[in-house]
Structures are given as structure tokens and as C-alpha cells.
């Protein structure tokens, strides 16, 4: 999962700009995916893909900052290179604080963009290497059913199986089955290992 070639995602509502960016990236040998709206990008892209995003800040509907927020919420922050038409310091500050890789003003210099892309992709790969277990954990977490997730939250919170069964209004036997399935899906052998992983992932409990 997510071990393929890094992809440069380009999101801009202007088709002509989108095409030109794709060509420039292709000339440097990058694999690219182009989207003309933020909504489309969030819906279609493979969340496990590595690489970076080139994102136009001002778009109708969801704008660049909205996309950045969503990616952070999803816990899979791809590095973002923002493109902007106008100099807007408060927005730039906000985007950089949220961890933007770079902020380029249109019309952009091709070489500068390519250098930023190379840097961002390197950073993403390094992040993925250093946090392989976390990324793996996240992906595993996403495969849990709602009930398994509830069980996980309660296990991590230190509840006994009996308490969990009472809270969720189900039989102890059923809870034991859910718990075993959850441990197996999360690929952990012990409660301590699960607790450590969850803590590092910073998962918020779901009620």
C-alpha cells in the first residue's frame, strides 16, 4: 500500500494553467495527476499515495486552505506547495503555520517550482520512512468496523471487557470476538503495543 512511485497532484481550476503545470512536471519526469477542483481531488485521489500537492489557493468552492485542513484531519498530510495569484500575507502565514511546504506567486518560475517539488517529495518520502509504522497503523485503523473502533477506544481507555460490554449493551462473548478481530487487524500482539501505537498516531476516541 502506498509504495508506488511518488505522484505530484496538481489542483487548479484553470484548465490551461493545469495543463501547463502537468507538462512542466512531466518534462522533469514526475508522475502527475490533475484535478480542476478541490472537491474532485479529495474524492478521487488515493489517500495512501506519496508525493506532494501543488494547490491553487483561490478556487471556487473549497479553496486551498480548506484542502490543507482536510488533509491534516485525515492524518495523511502530503506536503503542499501553494500557488497564489495575489500577495495575501495573512493567508500565507496561516498556510505556512499549518505546514505548507512552499508558497509560490503566479506567474511562477518553472525551475523554482521543480526544485520545490523535488524537495517536498523528498520530505514526504523521509516522513513515510520514519513513520512507516504510523502510516501502516493509520491504514489499518481505517479498515476497522464502527463496532471494532468503539471496542478499540474503550480498550485503550483501560476499560475491562465486561465494562465495554455493558457500555455498548452487548454480550461479553461478542465483545471478546470484536476485540480479537480488532487486535488482528491492527497487527498488534499485546495491549501495550496497541496503546503505544494509538498514542503515537494521536487518534482521538470516537464515541
Amino acid at each position: 500500500m502506498g509504495q508506488g512511485e511518488p505522484t505530484v497532484f496538481v489542483v487548479d481550476d484553470d484548465h490551461s494553467v493545469l495543463r501547463s503545470l502537468q507538462r512542466l512536471l512531466r518534462s522533469a519526469g514526475w508522475a502527475t495527476e490533475a484535478y480542476d477542483s478541490a472537491e474532485e481531488f479529495l474524492r478521487v485521489r488515493d489517500p495512501a499515495a506519496s508525493g506532494c500537492v501543488i494547490l491553487d489557493l483561490a478556487m471556487p468552492g473549497l479553496d486551498g486552505l480548506d484542502v490543507q485542513e482536510r488533509l491534516i484531519d485525515e492524518g495523511m498530510p502530503l506536503p503542499i506547495i501553494f500557488l497564489t495569484g495575489r500577495s495575501d500575507p495573512p493567508t500565507i502565514v496561516r498556510a505556512m503555520r499549518a505546514g505548507a511546504a512552499n508558497f509560490l506567486t503566479k506567474p511562477i518560475d518553472g525551475e523554482q517550482l521543480l526544485a520545490s517539488v523535488a524537495e517536498a517529495v523528498q520530505a514526504d518520502l523521509a516522513f513515510r520512512r520514519d513513520n512507516a509504522d504510523l502510516i501502516d497503523g493509520r491504514q489499518r485503523l481505517a479498515t476497522l468496523t464502527a463496532r471494532e473502533r468503539q471496542v478499540l477506544d474503550r480498550v485503550v481507555a483501560g476499560r475491562l471487557n465486561k465494562q465495554t460490554a455493558d457500555e455498548l449493551g452487548t454480550a461479553l462473548k461478542t465483545i471478546k470476538v470484536h476485540r480479537a478481530r480488532m487486535m488482528s487487524k491492527m497487527n498488534v500482539k499485546s495491549l501495550a503495543q496497541l496503546a503505544r501505537l494509538v498514542e503515537r498516531m494521536g487518534v482521538l476516541p470516537v464515541h
Partner: protein, 459 residues
Amino acid sequence: MVGVVAFAATLLPMSSVQPAQSPPSAAAARLPAIWEAEPWHVAASLSLALVVASLVTAFALERRNRRRADAELLGTEQLLRMAAAAGVGLWMHDLARNKRPWANDAHRAILGLGADEATDLPERLELVHPEDREAVASALGAAIEHGGEYAVRHRIVRRDGELRWVASHGRVTLDRRGKPATMWGVTADVTAPTRAELDAEVNRNELAHLSRVAMLGQLSGSIAHELNQPLTAILTNAQAALRFTSQPNVDLETLREILRDIVADDQRAGEVIWRLRALFERGEAKSEPIVASTLVRDVVRMLRSELISRNVSVTLELDPTLPPVQGDPVQLQQVLLNLIFNACEAMANSERWARCLVIRTTAARVAEVAISVVDGGPGVPPERVEKIFEPFVSSKPLGIGLGLVISRSIVAAHGGNLWCKNNAGRGATFTFTIPCAAASVAPAADRAGTAARVAVKES
């Protein structure tokens, strides 16, 4: 005298018939004796008496008619004198008898003609300003062709080179065969009021231009962005092409695509500049057919990034079947820009979901198109719905309160209306109407044809 003879002729038979129809009387009963004694004498006497009576009656009537005619003549003379004193020109042309046209001194004075100069049609058309000649010829031609009245206001260039505005109102009557019989009319020198009107128009155009330039200042960020997009694409495409060409096995098809895009983007940037220049230009208002939906699309395209940065979503409800309107494209763009700007301002504090702008074109009254701008703001307080069209009334902290005043005067100069109405739900709707282009109401070929026929008559 002709009238008298005709009158007598109609009286005679009536008088001769009367005795036969009268019921028998006492006098008639005594008559047979004389009648039998001298029938010829009696007949002759009676006839003579009848003729004398008729003549006396006829003369009496003739005197009465003449007195009446004298009085009428006196009235006409007085009217003529008054017209001359008021500087109203009068003229008449008996086409049927081809007599020399008559005109009063005032008419000659208005046209700057001497006492013995001809005042009929070809000569008068020569005096008409070349730019107005076709319109005048066409109006005259239509009246001559079908009979009836015409009214034109046009410029003349007098022999002394002086330019004057003349209002001319004329009437043509046709004879039984449909040929023009007489033409007469009045003329007035309307140079002063027309100049005042034109000055007012110049002032309005000037003011409209100033407020347009002020509005462009607000728009500058948006315009810069609209230029930036194609420039970005051009630069990026060119840099990609440079990289491709330095690689082995140059992909010609990709290069061709790049060049095609560069050409298209350059044209796109050119259009932005062209539209901008049109808005910056000051000059006389034009009058040309404009398709309302094109007008709306152009303005929305111009405001695209402004709308995006304000998080305003736009819905266009355009009726493609509407006939074109007549007007100045730049001034109408200005009205629409102003209304959209106002709508955005009104929605600045609205929730993001409510920042919806609807621009709609519909058929208004006969031969009018309405353009509405519907916003999702708080609406206009009912007591201010009319007040907002007054000068120096602004709800914006930085507004000078002239936008709507100027918009309304532009729309009024186009013969339309601009008004505001609060929506049933939230927000307000500003609507303006513009009359349709004349060509879309009556076929243009008709008018051209009339003008051509007049030209033939003149030669």
C-alpha cells in the same frame, strides 16, 4: 364666383320643385283664370321672380361667406403674425400643381435662406447636416410614400457655416390616386435647448466615466488575477517546451500542443486588456445592439476572481432567446458591475452558504429585456428602498454613494428603469430594463428601403 354659380345651380331646381309639392291653397284656387288667359305671361313672370329671388339669396349667402372668409383670413393672418413673432417657421408646398413652395420669413431665417431662394425639398435636404441627412430623408420619404405626418430633429449647416438644430414637423396629403398633393409644416430653431440637453449628456457620460474608473480601482486585484492566469500558463508552457527540446527524442506533438495553448492564452490575456481599455476609455456613448446574456457573461468573467476571493457563488439564469437590446455596451457593463459589487458588499457578512448571487435575464414589458441581480444579503430596509437611489446615500463605509445614482441615470438615458425590491426570503433584487434594439422590433430593411426611394425622388 365659382362658389356662387354652384350655389345658385343647386338652389334653382329645389325652388322649381317646391310648388308642385305644396298642398293646394286658396290663392291657387283663384289662379286658373289668369293662367288660362295668359299662360305664357304668367309662366315668364313666375320664372323671372324665381330667378330674382334665387339671385338675391345667393348674393346674401355669398356676402355672409365672404364675411366669414374675411374673418377667417384675419384670424389666419393674426396666427401667421404670431408665428413669425415667435420665430416659428411655416411652409407649404403644393405638389399637385407644382407651384413654387411658400414659406414665411421665419422659416427662411431658420434655414438661413434669402427671400428669393427656393425652399422645397431637395434644396432643404442640402442644408441638412450630412450625418442627419439619411434620417431626415427617410422620415420625409415615409410621409411622402404613405401620406401622414413626420417629426424630425436634426442639424443643419447654414450657408454661412453656422450649425443649428431644427425641429421640423410636417404633414403630407395624398390625392385620390395616392400621389402626394400638398406638404406643409412648421419648423423651429431648437439649437439652445438641444445644446443644453447635449451638455447634460456629456456631463452624465463624464460622471459615468469617473465612477467607472473609480470602480476599476476596486477591480484592479481581480483584473491582475485575470491577466496572471494566462501569463502563468504561457510561462510554464514555454519553460516546459524548453526542457522538452533539450531532451533526446523531442516529442513534436507535445510541442505543438504547447504552442497552441500559448497562442490561446495570449489571446485570452489580450481580451482582458481589451475589455479593460474599453472601460477606461471616455468618449461619446455608443448605441448598438447588445445581447444581454453576452453582457452578463463578460461582466461575470471580469469579476471571476473577485467573486472567488469573496466566496460568492454565481448562478446565471440566462434566456438565450431574448432579442438584443440597444445601448452602450460599456455603460451597461458598468451598471451590471455596480449592481454585482453592491450585491457582494451586501453579502460580506452573510454566512458562507448564503453568499449566492443569481443573475437573471428575462423578457420585460413589450420590447424590453430585464436584467436582475439577486443577492443573499440582509436586504434593504423598507424605508430605504427608494432612498438608496439618491446621491450621497451609501451603506458602505468607503462608498461615496454615487454608484446607484449613476447607474439609474445610465439606465434612464437608455430608456429603461432601475429599481430595487426585497426578496420574499433573504436578500434583495435589483432589476434594470433596457429597450430592445429597433431592428429586432421592425425589420431594418424597411427603413433602408424608404431612404433609398427618397433618394430616387430627389434626383
